[in-house]
């Protein structure tokens, strides 16, 4: 028709519309493995990264009551003030650091959103953010979505997968802006001692870095207390503390987390949150408020996990799969490198021959090669059966 300026250039296919920086990011190795496992029947899965408990009844009941009362609206962007106050009290008591509920706490849709907000709020293109591997699968991709540069710091079995200042010093550059921590760690179950967090704090101060600390597993620590870097003197000002209800309160499906940070950073995250999310679901917020009223359920679950951890570690070591005893979360990360198989092949053969699903360590970063992630947040009967099958499997591998 007259009026059209020129012939359009060659038409783009749907895939051509995708942003370039997204194309470089691989799919999660967990998702690949999930697709293989989901084709099989009667699998015993030690590959599930969530509690096997249903949310405590009083919390579910409160959520239903909230719905009955018509709690179906938006809340303030930051979240219900009564929930922020309860979080402030809880974090103060449990972690020893005080946050102002009016200006320093932001309720989010899971820690996943909080993590995304924290990274986007601080990252200029090209900024380097350090994180420790093996780690939760989202960290590096989230940094890249924000056009940052993820810098992995390898942790080692010999150190119980703890992070030390020496490891960090090797990877820090003038472009490093932040350090992302996740202790207790998914997938290794590693925790930090008070001395460790003080050492890392000194590193962060020396290099003028921000610390983002994802402490979603912090209620699930065994054989000792928890140490949060946010509570180290002088660190609150340079720390974004992320936490939520998924693990300690068995509330994964409620999708409720929060970010605590100095007011300026909180406001920056809030800016993104208000435009992309508006607010976290009100029913989940009401449920979370109920969840914070008692620690009894969390403690019961912790004690139950602890016994299952002990059982699984003992059984793995007895069958000849060396396994350190992790102090947190609900994962063990045994070493299978002596069997002459990659962790992926080991996991695939274990699935194929014995119908037991464990996630290959390589899904959590290159230095996870040689390991398996086995989750003990599953019924003890299943763990026992899985151990019998695994023992049979490794006996065959050895012969």
């Amino acid at each position: 028709m007259s009026g059209s300026k020129s012939h359009p250039k060659q038409q783009r296919s749907p895939g051509d519309f995708i942003a370039e920086h997204l194309l470089d990011i691989p799919r999660s190795g967990i998702r690949d493995f999930f697709e293989i496992v989901s084709t099989r029947k009667d699998v015993i899965s030690l590959g599930i990264g969530e509690p096997d408990f249903v949310t405590p009844w009083h919390v579910r009941e409160q959520a239903m009551f909230a719905l009955e009362r018509g709690a179906t609206t938006y809340t303030s962007n930051r979240g219900l003030i009564e929930l922020r106050r309860a979080i402030s009290t809880y974090v103060g008591k449990a972690f020893g650091v005080d946050y102002n509920p009016e200006t320093e706490i932001l309720i989010t849709v899971g820690v996943s959103e909080a993590l995304d907000l924290a990274i986007r709020a601080i990252t200029n293109p090209g900024d380097e953010i350090m994180y420790h591997e093996p780690c939760f699968v989202s960290y590096a991709p989230e940094i890249r979505f924000a056009h940052g540069v993820p810098v992995a710091v390898n942790t080692r079995r010999e150190d119980g997968f703890r992070l030390t200042r020496a490891m960090l010093e090797q990877k820090v550059t003038s472009r490093t802006k932040a350090l992302l921590l996740n202790f207790p760690t998914n997938p290794t179950g590693a925790t930090l001692t008070q001395a460790d967090v003080e050492e890392i704090s000194a590193f962060a101060k020396a290099h003028d870095l921000l610390v983002i600390t994802d402490e979603i597993y912090s209620e699930l620590t065994y054989d000792g207390g928890r140490a949060s870097i946010a509570a180290v003197p002088g660190m609150k000002e340079r720390t974004i503390f992320l936490h939520g209800f998924s693990k300690g309160w068995a509330m994964t499906g409620f999708r409720l987390g929060y970010a605590c940070s100095p007011p300026e950073l909180s406001e920056a995250m809030m800016k993104i949150h208000q435009y992309i999310m508006m607010c976290a679901p009100i029913v989940s917020q009401k449920a979370a408020l109920e969840a914070l009223k008692t620690q009894d359920d969390t403690e019961d679950m912790r004690l139950s996990y602890e016994k299952r951890r002990n059982f699984l570690c003992a059984a793995l070591n007895e069958m000849g799969i060396p396994c350190h005893v992790p102090q947190g979360a609900f994962y063990v990360f045994p070493y299978i490198g002596d069997y002459g198989l990659t962790s992926k092949d080991f996991a695939l053969r274990l699935l194929d021959e014995e119908n037991v699903a464990c996630v290959p360590g390589s899904a959590f970063g290159a230095c996870g090669e040689g390991f398996l992630r086995c989750c003990y947040a599953t019924d003890i009967k299943e763990i026992k059966e899985a151990c019998l099958r695994m023992a049979r499997f490794v006996k065959r591998l050895k012969s």
Binding site: S28, I30, F33, F34, V37, S38, V43, S45, G47, I48, G49, E50, D52, F136, V137, S138, N186, L303, K307, R308, N310, F311, A314, A315, A357, V359, D379, I380, K384
Partner: protein
């Protein structure tokens, strides 16, 4: 409560070896502790939790509310102990509220339980009145669901 007791309450058939693994101790230590609990009477026995509704046997169970005149020096104990001696009586509890003792009684049919209550229980000196409630169906017993199976709706593998 001690963690070993909690585990035994969940599954009294758990092997000492597995108990030792879970509690991060030795098999011998577990055995010694269990023997000690049995000796001191803290563990008074081991029973299967049976869903009698599924069995083809004649069995009815009733909850009996009992009002009692307490005795000088004996309180409720003497009467409660006396009631406890009947083999028909499964459990007896001292209660707060509108009645004093609660007994769970079993029998082959309604008549048998009714006969036991009117002839044996109500006639005991000191018992003022009884109220009988027959149980119709068991949904949960000793923390165990009798019918509903626990389902795991989680994804088979997740981050």
């Amino acid at each position: 409560m001690d963690e070993l007791l909690k585990l035994l309450k969940q599954n009294a058939l758990e092997t000492p070896k597995n108990l030792a693994r879970m509690l991060n101790t030795t098999e011998d230590a577990v055995k010694v502790k269990i023997a000690d609990y049995e000796r001191t009477g803290i563990i008074r026995g081991y029973q299967a939790i049976v869903n009698t509704d599924q069995l083809d046997v004649k069995l009815v169970r009733a909850v009996i509310e009992i009002k009692v005149t307490p005795e000088r020096e004996g309180g409720f104990n003497r009467i409660a102990e006396r009631i406890s001696k009947f083999p028909e009586v499964e459990s007896v509890y001292l209660m707060s509220g509108t009645y004093d003792l609660l007994a769970i009684v079993t029998g082959r049919d309604l008549q048998e339980v009714a006969f036991f209550v009117s002839e044996k229980l109500a006639t005991i000196a000191g018992i003022v009145s009884t109220g009988t409630h027959f149980m119709l169906k068991t949904y949960k017993n000793n923390g165990v669901l009798m019918e509903a199976e626990k389902t795991d709706e989680r994804l088979k593998v997740s981050p």
